[in-house]
């Protein structure tokens, strides 16, 4: 079962809208305040990457329900320049240096699942889920 809602990311204010959407869904699903803060931090990072490096894209929030387990999935989509070396951006130390894909390892650690697909010239799709415990 998936119910999706999306926010277009074009400017910095859209980051706030994406956070708000994520927080609302997280609250509804019953995530505690600490997890809400983690989810919105992850959303901020992903949306900020779109805004800064892809120029425009979408950030969507899915409500998941698998085998009775509820979860929230963030999907960040853009048609930006893509990431040529994914392994490199998943290395630590990159987040503090700024640049494309900043903070992705951090997002992975805040969430439970993390998946990234990127083709240079085509864009990037990141899916990351947090399950309700």
């Amino acid at each position: 079962m998936e119910i999706q809602s999306c926010v277009s990311i074009l400017n910095e204010w859209d980051i706030v809208a994406a956070r708000q959407l994520g927080r609302n869904v997280a609250k509804e699903l019953g995530f505690g305040t600490v997890d809400q803060a983690r989810i919105t931090t992850a959303i901020s990072e992903l949306a900020r990457n779109i805004y800064l490096y892809a120029g425009e894209g979408q950030l969507c929030i899915d409500r998941l329900n698998e085998n009775g387990k509820a979860g929230l999935r963030i999907i960040a989509l853009d048609k930006g320049p893509g990431i040529p070396d994914i392994r490199k951006v998943m290395e630590d130390g990159f987040s503090t240096s700024g640049g494309l894909g900043a903070g992705l390892p951090g997002v992975r650690r805040l969430m439970d699942d993390f998946n990234i697909d990127s083709d240079p010239g085509e864009g990037t799709e990141i899916r990351s889920t947090k399950w309700l415990r």
Partner: protein, 336 residues
Amino acid sequence: MNKQETLEEQFSKILQEYINNQSEQALYAAQQFSRTALEKKVPPEEVISLQKSAMQELMPDLSPEVWHSFDILLEVMTAYGFAFREHQSLLATQKELKNEMEIASNVQETLLGTSVPEVDGLEIGALSVPAKQMNGDYYHFVHDGDHSVNIAIADVIGKGIPAALCMSMIKYAMDSLPEYRKDPSAVLESLNRVVEQNVDDSMFITMFYGMYELRSNILHFASAGHEPGFFYRYKDKEFLDLEARGLLLGVDKNAKYKRYEQAVEIGDMVILMSDGVTECRTDEGFIERETLISYINEYIELPPQEIVNKIFRDLERLQHFQLRDDFTIIILKRTK
């Protein structure tokens, strides 16, 4: 602290105790608590949450403004938590790297291993200590039957892994030149070509190569820009520079290395070293060669291995136990 208690319970107790008494004891308990929390890798945002729930329990009637203020704190601390997790992950990576380096340094030791030869009429002491894990200094002995003992001492400009990798190459280049072993100039000329062809332009190697002829007790030697050694003349109790001119290895593939000779009498000593010894930095700057001589002089009556050990110990202390460069010293003494 009771292990059965949850973190929430522990935190709540400490907070209550402090609110009631403002005691140092409660603050100490809080410090102990953070030790446990850090061990369990509890991120900062979790601690804010502990504080908030403990306060909700202890002071449920606080104004809503107070509770709202926690949201800001939580948000800020989540970002710190982001950095905290990265730090944890970097620590784990660092540990892995350290282990790998340890293995590499063991491999290097095996690769570059040489044993000090036992030769009738000569006593030899040698010591080489890397500044970091991998050694960019290198020494090697070859004992050729009754005829000669050959000594090589080399130093890659630079230290750490690149220097160590480079040294392994030198060692194998040297192993593959047995026919030249006798003649110091020929050895250096061959190695110079190997280095010139195979090593990055930014890397240079200095090397001293000596061949001690056991029958005539003459040391033949040549140097490729290596730190000059000392010759100790027992008869006059004086130290002379073992001067030899020659270009660093790897600069010019046609470089020539002049061969020098030094007759060695009973009691005389040949002292070779890397620039990690003379460039041993103290609070007053580099130590002078004169100072080094005075250190050697202090132990001059001891067997060579003890002299090198004691010099290292003294110079290590002088540098507050922080080596800035790889350190190698070799002493060869004619005893009869």
